[in-house]
């Protein structure tokens, strides 16, 4: 039995390489989405920022530090290329983390199907690392936000990411808590309850941050936030699908006999 298992179980190295590749693919797709739909909103926000800076300079006040203008270190053109670099590198990092989580947690995930396990982990990351933080700290375009609070905002953001992942973990533990043979709806309700308790505690304890100037166009803010969410959903959806598609298939023959054998066993 152990011989069969060691032959069919992929090594960490194999899984990691495929996770990194899936992350690269997902990052480039997210970059394409962000380039097509997000960049116009970033440009619009920067135009507002520059107009404000010029008005300030005209009124004699010292010009605010500006890293988007003509004398910027990286031109706007360069920043649009850098967008793909950023999403690709971020995708690679997340792909490697997903593959590592899959390697370490696969045996604890109570599903017979490896594809369900991989997709479930990606969905958990999307929920915990994207959707939970999005509601508490929705992303802002350039020209919004006080540079002086960047450290506090970064710490709060990282805290809600950790809390989001903890909430997903709590959901899994709570869903497994009912006695064996409990109805599915009981497990689902317990999981939802575990998730909500952690999320609500996190939302209440973490500080509220609202730095959007009253003069900033609300429709631009809304559109930017939706595109940012779309970029992140694209990244995680593509990552989950690509990693699942790239999962090693060496066990497919074993799968047939394995399923045949397990079917005869009452569970």
């Amino acid at each position: 039995m152990s011989l069969t298992q060691s032959r069919t179980a992929p090594t960490y190295g194999v899984l990691l390489l495929r996770g990194l590749l899936a992350g690269l693919i997902a990052g480039l797709l997210a970059g394409a989405f962000a380039y097509a739909l997000g960049e116009p909103k970033v440009d619009a926000a920067i135009a507002i920022e520059e107009a404000a800076a010029h008005a300030e300079a005209a009124s004699g006040a010292p010009a605010a530090e500006d890293h988007h203008g003509e004398d910027a270190l990286v031109s706007r053109h360069g920043q649009k290329g850098g967008l793909f670099l950023a999403t690709a590198l971020f995708g690679v990092a997340m792909g490697g983390l997903l593959a590592t989580a899959y390697t370490l947690l696969r045996r604890r995930l109570r599903t017979e199907h490896d594809s369900h396990a991989a997709l479930g982990l990606a969905a958990a990351a999307l929920l915990g690392m994207v959707l939970v933080p999005f509601v508490k700290y929705p992303p802002n375009p350039p020209a919004v936000g006080d540079p002086a609070t960047i450290n506090q905002r970064t710490i709060s953001y990282l805290s809600i990411v950790v809390i989001g992942l903890a909430a997903v973990w709590a959901a899994v533990i709570a869903a497994r808590a009912p006695h064996a043979g409990a109805a599915d709806w009981v497990r689902a309700a317990a999981g939802l309850g575990g998730f909500l308790v952690v999320v609500v505690v996190g939302y209440v304890l973490l500080p509220n941050i609202d730095e959007v100037p009253e003069t900033f166009p609300p429709s631009l803010l809304w559109n930017f936030r939706v595109t940012s969410l779309g970029t992140q959903v694209t990244l995680w959806a593509a990552l989950g699908l690509a990693f699942t598609a790239l999962l090693p298939r060496s066990a497919s023959s074993e799968a047939v006999t394995g399923r045949g054998r397990t079917e005869s066993v009452p569970v």
Binding site: A86, T100, N151
Partner: protein, 67 residues
Amino acid sequence: MPKVQTVRPLHPTTVSPRVLGAAFGVVATLLLLAYLVAFDQGAVSQSGMFLHELMHDGRHLLGVPCH
């Protein structure tokens, strides 16, 4: 042929101490990469403003707090 008693995953990845050690190193490296992309802010930059500005649009669109 041995009798199978439980339903088990097709790919029960093995987690040996060596894999655990490797995973620790990999996670640390990938978190550093994510930090460079997403959190290396201009004000307290460890790598200079160039990387910050180069990946600035990606940072905003990935939902990470920025200036």
